[in-house]
Amino acid sequence: MTQHTMKSFPMGGIHPQDHKLSADQAITSLPVTETVSVFFSQHIGAPATPLIKPGDQVKTGQLIAESAGFISANIHSPVTGTVVKFEEVMDASGYKKTAAVIKVADDEWEDGIDLTPDLKTDIPADPDLIRQKVQKAGIVGLGGATFPTHVKLGVPSGKAAEVLLVNGVECEPYLTADHRLMLEKGREILVGIRIALAALGLKKAIIGIENNKPDAIKYLQSLLTGEDPISIQALKVRYPQGGERQLVKALTGREIPPPPRGLPIDVGAVVLNVATCKAIYDAVQKNKPLIERVITVTGCSIQKPSNFLARIGVPIQSLIDAAGGLPEQTGKVISGGPMMGKSLASLDCPVTKGTGGIVVFDAEVARRQDMMDCIRCGKCVSVCPLGLEPYLLAALVERNMLDRAEAEKITNCCECACCTYTCPSSRSLLDYIRLGKTAVLKAMRERQQK
C-alpha cells in the first residue's frame, strides 16, 4: 500500500531547483563506439584480476576480470572485439587506473544470456544460488557508491536484517535515470526486489520515491497487490533525501550510528538502489552480467537532454555527442549530480558501473563566487542533515586544529554539500571539511595501528 503521508528526514536539507529536463525522455540505446576502455576496478574494494591479455578476442558479456577478494567484483566485456592493450586511463575522480582497451568488431553475446524482453517472474528459492549469480554478474551498487551487491545480500553473522529498503529517491537535481527506469522497467525492478528479499530471507521491502515523481509512484503501485511484501513510500522532495542515512531514517524511523562503525544493517536495514534491483533481475533471471546502465545526459544548454542505455567503457564524449554535442559556452562537465558529482578533467573518460549522470554546466554558472568572511548567519548549521556545524569544522581545519575537528565529529560528514550550497559568503566549507576529514581519518587509522 502507498502511504500517502509523506515522510522525510529529521534535520537540515535544502530545496535546490530540480531541473529534471530529461524526465520525459524515454531510455534509448546508445550506439557503441569504435573502442571502449574497461577499468578493472569499477567498485569499492580490490581491483579485479584480469583474465585476458592484449590480442585476445572477447565476446559481449564474457568475464574478463575476476573478483579479487571478498569486497571486489567481476568485470565483463561490454562489447565483442579484440583487446588492443592495457592502458592507464584517467577516471572520473582524476586518478589513473588500469583499463583494457577493446577494439569493437561486433556485438555477439556470450552463450546462455537471455536477451529476450520476456518478463521472468519465477524466483530461485536458494539464497546462495542468488548470491552466486549476483556475484558472477559483477553487480555493484548503481546509486553511485559501487559497493559489491552480493556482499550486501548476505547478512554478516551477529547482525539481523529486518527490512529491505529500495532507493528510488533520485534527489540530485537534473538526474532522471532512476525515474525513467522505474517507469519503463518497473516490473523487472519489482522482480529484482523479490529476488533480493529471497536472498535475505526477508518479508518486507519499502521503495522510497521522492514525491516529484508521482507517475513512478503510481505506476509501481499499480503493479502491486494488496498483500504484497513490497510497499511504496512517497518521500518529501528535499535533498539529500536519497542519502543512505536520510533514507533509512525516513523509511524506518531509525538512525544509523555515525561512521566508521555505522551501517544500515546495524539498524536492521539493507538498502539497494532501484537500478541495482533491475541489475539483480538481469543477472538472476536472464544470466546477464552488468555491462550497461542507464545514464542521464543533461544540462541547461544541452540540445537534447536524454536518458541513454550505455555500454560500460564508452567515452563520455560519445554520450554528449548523442545528446546534441558540447555547447560552446560549457564551463564544466560533471559525472554524477551537481551536488555530489565530480567535474571531469577529460571527456575521454570512460563510462563505468558508477556513472549515473553527465551534467553539463555553462561557464557562467560553473564559476564560484569570491569567498567572503563568514557572517555567522548559521545557515550551514541549519541545513546540515547530520547536525554538524560546518562553519566551525571549516574554521578548525583552516587553522589545522584537527583534534578539535575530530571532537566536533568531522568524520560524520557525508559530503552532501548542503553547507557550501547554502553559504551566502560562498565559503568553500565542504572543501575544508573534506580535507580535514581525510586527515582525521588517517590519524585515526594510525592510532589504531599503534
Partner: protein
C-alpha cells in the same frame, strides 16, 4: 577540476542585507509619520556616514577588498538612527556612526568578525557621552522644539518619586497607540506593528529565524510578569514592557544580527531569553529607564560561550 557542489543557492551577503533594509522601511515610514522629516534626515545622515567611514577605511587605511556597499553598513546606519531621538544634532550622528563602523566593526576585522552589535555600540557610546541630547525626546506629531518624556521615562521617574504604577499608566499612551507607534521615543522603535510587518517579510524570505525574537519576548513577558505579580504598584505589567521602548526593535532587529548572535536554535533561545530578562532587570532596577541596548551588548559577549555549549543534536548519536 572543481569539487562538488556545482550548484549554489544564489544567496549572497548583499541579497540578505538588502532584504533587511527593505524590511525596515515600514518602521522608517512610521518614524517619519510620527517625528516628521527630521527622522529621515537623521537616518540618511547615519547611513551615508557609515558607508563613507567603511569605504574610506577599506580603500585607504586597510587597503582591503571594498565591501562598503554590501548592505551591512547601510543596516548599521539605519539601526543606529532608529535607536536615537529624531532631534539628535548632525555632529553626534556622525560621531555615533564613526564609533559603530570604525571602532565596533572594522577594528575587529569587519563584517563577520565583530563581537558587539556595531549600531548598539554607537548608540551606547552616544548615550553615555551625550546623555542630555540622547534623552531629549521630541513630542510625537509636534512642531520643532517641543519635547516630552517617553512612556518608559514617565514610568521610571514616577516610580522613583513614589507614584503607584496604576496612576502612571494613565499618563502613558494606550496599548493600541504603543502598538501602532503613536508615542515618543527613538525614531525606529515606536511602532511595534511596523517592526512586526518588516520581520514577517524576513521570516518569509528565510533571512532570519523566529528563535531569538520569540525567546527574548517571552523572556521580557515572563520576567516582567513575575515582578508585576509580586508588586503591581511598583512594576509595570508585561504588555506595557513588551510594547514600549526598544523591546520590539531589539528583539526583531538588534538581537537577530547574524554576526553577534549564536549559531544554533538552542543557543539563540538562551541568548534571546537572557536578553529579555536582563532588559527588564535594567528597566526595573537600573539607573536607566531602558535596558534593551545594554542587555543585548552584554549577551553579545556570551555568544562564543553559548556556541561552545549549545551544539546541534548530532544525527545517529
Amino acid at each position: 577540476m572543481a569539487l562538488s557542489p556545482h550548484e549554489y543557492s544564489g544567496q549572497s551577503i548583499s541579497k540578505l542585507m538588502y532584504a533587511v533594509v527593505i524590511s525596515l522601511l515600514p518602521a522608517m515610514a512610521v518614524g517619519i509619520y510620527v517625528f516628521g522629516w527630521a527622522a529621515l534626515s537623521v537616518t540618511v545622515t547615519a547611513v551615508v556616514s557609515c558607508v563613507i567611514f567603511e569605504y574610506v577605511l577599506q580603500a585607504f587605511v586597510l587597503k582591503r577588498r571594498i565591501t562598503a556597499l554590501d548592505g551591512s553598513a547601510v543596516i548599521t546606519g539605519i539601526l543606529l538612527a532608529f535607536n536615537v531621538p529624531s532631534n539628535l544634532p548632525f555632529g553626534l550622528i556622525v560621531i555615533g556612526s564613526f564609533v559603530a563602523i570604525v571602532v565596533a566593526k572594522m577594528s575587529f576585522g569587519g563584517l563577520g568578525n565583530n563581537i558587539f552589535n556595531p549600531a548598539l555600540v554607537g548608540r551606547v557610546f552616544l548615550l553615555t557621552s551625550f546623555p542630555v541630547q540622547m534623552t531629549t525626546w521630541p513630542k510625537p506629531f509636534a512642531v520643532d522644539g517641543v519635547t516630552a518624556a517617553t512612556p518608559l521615562g514617565i514610568m521610571k521617574e514616577g516610580v522613583a518619586a513614589g507614584s503607584p504604577v496604576s496612576d502612571l499608566m494613565q499618563q502613558v499612551p494606550s496599548y493600541l497607540d504603543l502598538f501602532l507607534g503613536k508615542t515618543g521615543g527613538c525614531i525606529g522603535e515606536v511602532s511595534a506593528a511596523a517592526l512586526l510587518i518588516g520581520f514577517a517579510f524576513l521570516l518569509w524570505r528565510k533571512v532570519v529565524t523566529w528563535h531569538t525574537p520569540v525567546a527574548m519576548l517571552v523572556g521580557v513577558g515572563m520576567f516582567s510578569g513575575i515582578l508585576w505579580m509580586i508588586d503591581p504598584s511598583r512594576f509595570a505589567n508585561p504588555v506595557f514592557h513588551l510594547l514600549s521602548g526598544g523591546v520590539m526593535l531589539g528583539a526583531l532587529y538588534m538581537a537577530t544580527d547574524y554576526v553577534t548572535s549564536p549559531m544554533t536554535p538552542r543557543g539563540m533561545m538562551i541568548f534571546g531569553g537572557a536578553i529579555g530578562i536582563l532588559s527588564v532587570l535594567i528597566r526595573s532596577f537600573g539607573a536607566y529607564p531602558e535596558g534593551v541596548s545594554f542587555a543585548i551588548l552584554i549577551m553579545n559577549a556570551f555568544v562564543p560561550l553559548i556556541d561552545k555549549f549549545c551544539k546541534p543534536r548530532r544525527f545517529g548519536e
